[in-house]
Symmetry: D3
Subunit: 119 residues, 6 copies
């Protein structure tokens, strides 16, 4: 039931985001702000937006981005069946080259299933 | 209100799919079958699945794939506001390099808005 | 000495940008604004920034983006020798898969050499 | 039985390669030479090397590169069954995003089947 | 003569594949089956198919996929000279961005050269 | 003020480059030579060429390549403001998918700021 792998990941992400902000000029700062804004609920609910971010990250094969959206999907109340269907679309679109990332996506998701959704 | 650009695109796609099937071995045939299956409604509705396919296609920057999913989103009853929010996530994830594809996605969508959803 | 290919390209780009703005929500609008801001001269001159945008576009293999930055490099006073050296870095980093885009980049550049830099 | 589409493609490629050489510095010239050298028969026969170039081009989704290697495979005596198996590996590795390129690859291959291998 | 790095890699891959199958729906299960089928000998021998998978993985820059196909090439009896020629095509097509993956590909290959081919 | 992470990275890179050269055929050897040549000062100074290599590596999302060019930029006398502006162009072109790489790029850069430029 441990989420320590994910907790470690979150801690490193926060520390490095602080470092980015120390160096960041206006363009970088505004991009980070925009990145947060894009996932706010609107015509589409937050859960759908997080699934969109997850599948985009899977086909572009970025493990950090996948981990981030896996956590966000969990917080937004996405079910395992919904998550798996979304990932399977990414698999078909992106091909077998996405499989190693799919494995790690489900490892992170599986870790979160043992943890209460409380942050 | 013309959809002739989209109609031409559909006709060429069908003709070339016929050609693929003339050459296709078992692996290719099964892949094409799997590609259709991935978008059937399940835990997620067809409209969400088409938006997932659309955003995956946008960040991977494939105009043909984008056109296909734009048509499928239209058939599945996606609204312009929902479509635009999904595309904006693809834009933020995939960056300015997706902009030319975003332009053509909205041109195809705009053509479809003038046409009754009847095919 | 004709630049009609580039002029046609510019006209279509403007028309489609207008269409994007008709559909655009806040995220998309802010992204387009940010995209313009990133290339304004700062610690690096505009010419260097345009070369950075050009090489990024070459290795990501987006013809529209390449054409845009080729025009911007021309306007910023980049020389043919500077342009070629930048493209050769993109060629080595991105490999032979970039060659078709390199060809079209130089076709656009060659067209611009016959035209006064006046827009 | 016409190969005019392929003939047009070859003519434009040659014209643009000439233009590249007019601008090319030493790095670009040496890269083009190296690109030719990589496909010469050695421990692997030319036909296998062309199939490797073709599948690499398919998963990277470059139509010009695919057309080039389709022609080279034809010249190297690759059979339709061998070509289709190679393409099906590219399809599985690269996913459905490669399908539009697979269609155009087989259109070019089909054109060549009607033509004697004489160039 | 140790292959412990590769043995560890194989063990983790198997454990995560088990996890994928626990969550997998029909689309994912069929994709995994198709992935195995694509490399079975047919018009092309297994060794050529594994080289195709390897070069596709190199230009798409997936270390896990590269390690997998390096092992498969070893089992299929590919020689070091054949492997190196195939990798050099991937290097030229995919550019210097593939070099870190090429280094790790040859590290895995070198480990396998000290081990009898017995699994 | 430790640069041990970067020192470790350099040591592994050198060891693996030696291994590559043990296996390398003529194509691979010539590619490595060309890779070095592309960054030599010419019409563009070394600092600009390293920034071009850095931004190309960022949008293609290769951590090893980014680390290499971060070190080279430091050696070439690039300032933190210049580096950040170049990275921000990569961020806008390549999108949020580049953010994890941007974080690690600035971590490497930050390590180098504590070290005298003496290698």
């Amino acid at each position: 039931m441990s989420t320590s792998h994910i907790d470690d990941w979150k801690a490193e992400r926060l520390a490095l985001n602080d470092l980015v902000m120390q160096y960041a000029g206006l363009t970088t700062k505004r991009f980070f702000s925009l990145d947060g804004q894009a996932y706010r609920p609107g015509a589409l609910p937050a859960s759908t937006k997080e699934l969109l971010g997850l599948v985009a990250s899977l086909v572009l094969r970025c493990d950090d981005c996948i981990t981030y959206h896996i956590i966000q999907c969990h917080e937004a109340g996405v079910s395992s069946a919904e998550l798996e269907e979304a990932l399977s679309i990414g698999l078909v679109v992106g091909g077998s080259i996405t499989i190693p990332h799919l494995r790690r996506a489900l490892r992170a998701w599986d870790e979160l299933q043992g943890a209460p959704s409380t942050e």
